[in-house]
Amino acid sequence: MGTPSDKKLIDENGLRLDGRGPDELRPIRIRTDVLERADGSAMIEWGGNKIIVAVYGPREAYPKHTQDIERAVIKARYNMAAFSVDERKRPGPDRRSVEISKVISEALTAAVMVEQFPRTQIDVFIEVVQADAGTRIASLTAASVALANAGIPMKDFVVGCTAGRVEGKVVLDLSKEEDNFGQADLPMAVLQKSGEVVLIQMDGELSKEEFDSAVAMIMDATKRIHEIQRNALVEKYQNIEAGGEE
């Protein structure tokens, strides 16, 4: 984790730098149909994160050796725009984005009815336009909406959140400063209905008790985040009922 800083991340009233309590989320907004060409798309704004997700497919898997005769292969590509972070990022994949792409692909595969589309691939293109801590779970949360928006059959929604330890306290949804200077970071994603964990990563230092309370906080938060996912999709159909496009 980051280096210790002189800056107080939590004040005497237990409030964080941005005024949130320990179990409060940053503002989250999800919109669907943000792109014209894609089969499905979504945009998530989560705190300062701004992420666009596009879904193409199912379509023939290419190159052919990537085909699976029993199921569709989900190929997520997590990519950060050069201007998304403070210091310009060199465009193109690096080791971090390759890893994130892999864990996101795997988490989504658990939710999609992949066995209905043998030999195909479903592309999930994720573009982080602005990064502000927690991009992987924000991407995953939005990807799940984009898949539903593309009309791809799914067993469940994937919804994620992070928690971590900051100045000895367990807090939900780390901000950028907390991510940089905190003592632990735990991104986690679950299937919404079943509560099964489809993504979990952790770095830093947490006791067993702290881990349990972090997970409890995340599980509670995923319910709230799922409401936002659901509303984003409902909104789309309300617009249609109201007589067409926005």
Binding site: E36, G48, K50, D86, E127, V129, Q130, D132
Partner: protein, 262 residues
């Protein structure tokens, strides 16, 4: 340029577009020298030093500008540096693939770069901090997220808008300064279908044309960059016509996107 997902434009659509052109109108109802609707949100990515989200019809691009200090090129020790990079993201179109840029996207990036560079929009001399040692580097990065033709103009207008608002810190401890700007280049891209010249082609028009030309001009009426693309040709008369169209249409765009800035 890429074809649609199936790789073809149907014969019926093709002849519809051609028939419509004879009456002086295009398939979407525009006149030959009419742009699609332009919407630009400035400061779309607050973390960047300058940014813009451009919607040109259904084409969408995001421009982000990063300004960092670095070493000048040995042959221009007194000048700041600018670089332009266009990412044709695979999310933008069914047949776009991840990976290193192909020749189409390299050409687009270079045409956009040339327009900005040759017009000397950025005053690179003022971006020199210590001759030969330290200058500011302006990184212009463009994400194409939705593709419906005419990436070049969408990118150029986004860059011009983003640069007009961009700020940088010559000294990490010091104050922010606006990027020094000399003028406002605008590119206008036109294609030829049959013998008609039309500006701001959408995807279908790009597909059925066999010649494309981009003319970038500044507000003083000077031509700053040109690029012809594709296998077809233009007569000298048509070249005159495209320059006139570029000036007329370009002035309209400049007025529309920068009216309040200048």
């Amino acid at each position: 340029m890429p074809k649609d997902a199936s790789g073809v434009l149907s014969e019926i659509k093709r002849s519809f577009i051609q028939e419509k052109l004879k009456s002086g109108f295009r398939e979407d109802g525009r006149k030959l020298d009419e742009m699609r609707k332009i919407t630009i949100d400035e400061n779309y990515v607050p973390r960047a030093q300058g940014s813009a989200f451009v919607q040109l019809g259904k084409t969408k691009v995001i421009v982000g500008i990063k300004i960092e200090s670095g070493a000048p090129f040995p042959d221009t020790p007194n000048l700041g540096v600018m670089t332009t990079n266009v990412e044709m993201l695979p999310m933008a179109f069914p047949t776009f693939e991840p990976g290193p840029p192909n020749e189409d996207s390299i050409e687009i990036a270079r045409v956009v770069d040339r327009g900005i560079r040759e017009s000397k929009m950025i005053d690179l001399e003022k971006l020199c901090i210590e001759p030969g040692k330290k200058v500011m580097i302006v990184f212009i990065d463009i994400d194409v997220i939705d593709f419906d033709g005419n990436i070049i103009d969408a990118c150029t207008m986004g860059v011009v808008k983003a640069l007009s608002f961009a700020r940088y810190k010559p000294d990490p401890e010091g104050d922010e300064l606006p990027v020094p700007i000399n003028n406002h280049p605008i590119s206008v891209t036109m294609v030829k279908i049959g013998n008609e010249i039309l500006c701001d082609p959408n995807l279908e028009e790009e597909q059925m044309s066999n010649a494309r030309i981009t003319v970038t001009m500044t507000e003083d009426g000077k031509i700053r960059a040109m690029q012809k693309g594709n296998i077809g040709s233009f007569t000298l008369g048509q070249i005159n016509e495209v320059i006139q169209m570029s000036e007329r249409v370009g002035n309209g765009i400049r007025e529309q996107i920068l009216g309040e800035v200048r």
